[in-house]
């Protein structure tokens, strides 16, 4: 027993300068674990898994089909050409896929975990809360039902647009996609933190916010008044899920720094979400969970 305790003390990393490195190693190890668990979940019943996969893919393509048909019928929407609309829809679907990639097991719907008292499970683990939340929802196989059709749509649009794609532009595209996904998650965490103070009333608030962003993200916002547009880029940042980054990446927006606005917004919202969530966690440590819903492990 004595030997074991010493080993644990030696391994304790926060004071070490190698902590960032060990954190990255740990993140990779955990992502590998959750990827395997996700695969096993689908592979356990192949028929069921494929049905789930197919229906999820159809559902997500159907979500953007309405806008696609409108663009087809009118050969574009406003200032957007038909192919640019396809690009935006592909972008929106991939961003949604990234959210699903990291947001499984109700990480994306964080208010459910908070409201159901399931953060106790996270607190029982010997790792920082951010690390648990960043890894536990990693479901690369289940989420690929959204991600793969999205990538297909994006590639199709790029082919039709005939853009000269440079590596720098591709990197900026990837950064914007990650930023858009981060905005959805941050927005869900900001509102979801209400569940710390009102566990029952706000248990479903994250799903409402995520669904709202998901439904509005496919609309091009050009032509809206400055007040409404300002609101849709700040208080309800739906404009950053697909519309604005697509404008910036396709050069519709003339600003040379347009490609960096979505990442900047993601950073600001992520900081705000971290602050609000941290405040909520302090409240949680004082009051604990007033109830616990036995829906199984973190679901």
């Amino acid at each position: 027993m004595e030997d074991r305790r010493s080993r644990i003390e030696e391994r304790d990393p926060p004071s070490s300068i190698l902590y960032p490195l060990s954190s990255i190693r740990r993140l990779l190890r955990l992502w590998k674990l959750y990827a395997l668990m996700d695969f096993m979940l689908i592979a356990a019943d192949l028929k069921l898994g494929l049905t789930y996969y197919l229906s999820d893919a159809i559902l997500n393509i159907a979500a953007v089909t309405g806008m696609l048909l409108l663009a087809e019928r009118f050969a574009g929407i406003g200032a957007w050409t038909h192919d640019q609309i396809i690009f935006m829809l592909g972008y929106a679907t991939v961003a949604n896929g990234i959210v699903n990639l990291l947001g499984g097991y109700n990480v994306m719907m964080i208010s459910r975990r908070v409201g159901r008292g399931q953060l106790d499970h996270t607190l029982a683990q010997p790792q920082p809360i951010w690390m648990a939340l960043l890894t536990e929802g990693f479901m690369p196989f289940s989420s690929s039902a959204v991600l793969i059709p999205g990538i297909g749509l994006l590639a199709w649009a790029l082919g039709r647009l005939g853009l000269a794609i440079a590596p720098g532009w591709l990197a900026l595209l990837a950064l914007n996609l990650l930023a858009s996904a981060a905005i959805v998650l941050a927005f869900s965490f900001i509102w979801g933190s209400l569940a710390f103070w009102a566990p029952r009333a706000a248990e479903e608030i994250s799903s409402s916010t995520v669904n709202m962003l998901s439904q509005l993200k496919v609309f091009p916002l050009d032509g809206l008044g400055p007040l409404l547009l300002g609101g849709l880029l700040t208080f309800l940042p739906v404009g950053f899920i697909a519309w604005y980054p697509s404008r910036a990446l396709l050069g519709i927006d003339p600003s040379p720094w347009g490609g960096w606005l979505t990442p900047l917004m993601a950073l600001l919202l992520a900081l705000l979400a971290a602050g609000v969530f941290h405040k909520g966690m302090l409240h949680y440590a004082r009051t604990g969970s007033q109830h616990y819903s036995g829906f199984g492990h973190r679901s």
């Binding site: 305790r5 668990m37 979940l41 607190l123 010997p126 440590a285 009051t287 604990g288 007033q290 199984g296």
Partner: protein
């Protein structure tokens, strides 16, 4: 009855220490009357529930401590404080020389927690997957993991359902797996909050036997809450009782019986159907020729009771035995409630 601390214990041997701990929860009260609807929204009356009041408790390494009390007494709050899930309003909570909340990451690496009404198992995966998950998240070295996995599979009998989905298992099987999971990283302290709730006799026996064995061989410190007093007495030498947030008793079970009352039962067989009237004993049950009494042996001598009985009727046979611990505790709880 006074709470008693184990003052004779060397400080270096103390693994759990609560000093002057207070915890209060605030509950909003809501009236059902329509005219109070606005007040319910704007300024609902607040009821303060004192979950823990001035709790002092020390536990030595290798002890098994039964932590008991009626519903709402503060047992689960204490376990949560000691699991790093909750902070006290006042006082200090230390375990293994650490603050469970401030040093949570390091601390939970060295403890195990089992909540009888919660699960750490992954519902849609086999038990094997939950074990592997634990290995990675707790960063358990492979040789230690394999050794502990083999041990818990064998002793808790997990082999037959180790590859079955958690959601397909019975409550007893889940609880055995839950306990096995909590032990994989060889915790130094094990907090068990009603670990045998809803289990059948056989599953209880397996789990209790394993906990005792673990304590004997590995010197794991165990704090266990339960409403089953017979189970707690079987498991622990020391019982800490809590009532409405206050420590009401801390000592061995034997002393608990002695201090509260030496409650015993007396069974008398007589040739006729009438039960003799015994001063100092309460008639619990009477059938023709067979009468059962309960009395406090610290107040009344058995010989006096038998003398009273024999003065009234012929006695064919006599049996006396201690009242079950549950009966003693039920007495205490009802006394506290009065």
């Amino acid at each position: 009855m006074h709470a008693q601390d184990h003052n004779t214990t060397a400080d270096s041997d103390i693994v759990v220490e609560l000093a002057g701990v207070h915890k209060t929860f605030r509950q909003k009260q809501r009236s059902e009357r329509l005219r109070d609807a606005l007040r319910n929204i704007l300024r609902p009356p607040i009821r303060e529930v004192q979950a823990l009041r001035d709790i002092d408790l020390r536990i030595r390494r290798g002890e098994i401590v039964a932590y008991a009390g009626p519903n709402g007494a503060g047992k689960s709050t204490t376990i949560k404080l000691l699991s790093g899930m909750l902070t006290p309003d006042q006082g200090s909570v230390r375990a293994l020389g650490m603050d469970p909340v401030r040093q949570r990451v390091r601390y939970v690496q060295r403890i195990g927690v089992v909540f009888g009404q919660r699960t750490e198992l992954w519902n849609d995966h086999p038990i094997a997957a939950s074990f592997e998950w634990k290995r990675v998240v707790w960063d358990i070295p492979r040789p230690r993991y394999e050794r502990m996995k083999g041990l818990v599979i064998e002793v808790l009998g997990l082999g037959e359902f180790f590859n079955s989905l958690t959601r397909e298992l019975s409550l007893g099987q889940k609880m055995r797996a839950e306990l096995g999971l909590a032990l994989l990283h060889e915790p130094e302290i094990l907090f068990l909050d009603e670990p045998t709730i809803g289990l059948d006799v056989l599953a209880k026996r397996t789990i209790l036997g394993f906990i005792k064995e673990l304590n004997r061989t590995e010197r794991v410190t165990i704090m266990v809450t339960s409403h089953d007093m017979a189970e707690l007495e079987q498991l622990a030498g020391r019982i800490v009782m809590i009532d409405r947030g206050r420590l009401a008793f801390d000592g061995p079970f034997e002393r608990l019986r002695r201090e509260l009352s030496d409650r015993r039962r007396l069974l008398i067989e007589t040739p006729n159907g009438t039960a003799p009237v015994l001063h100092g004993a309460e008639l619990m049950n009477s059938q023709p020729g067979r009468h059962e009494y309960v009395f406090d042996a610290a107040q009344v001598r058995i010989a006096d009771l038998l003398e009273q009985a024999s003065a009234q009727t012929q006695i064919l046979d006599v049996e006396t035995h201690r009242a079950p611990i549950d009966e003693v505790i039920a007495d205490i709880y009802s006394r506290w409630r009065r």
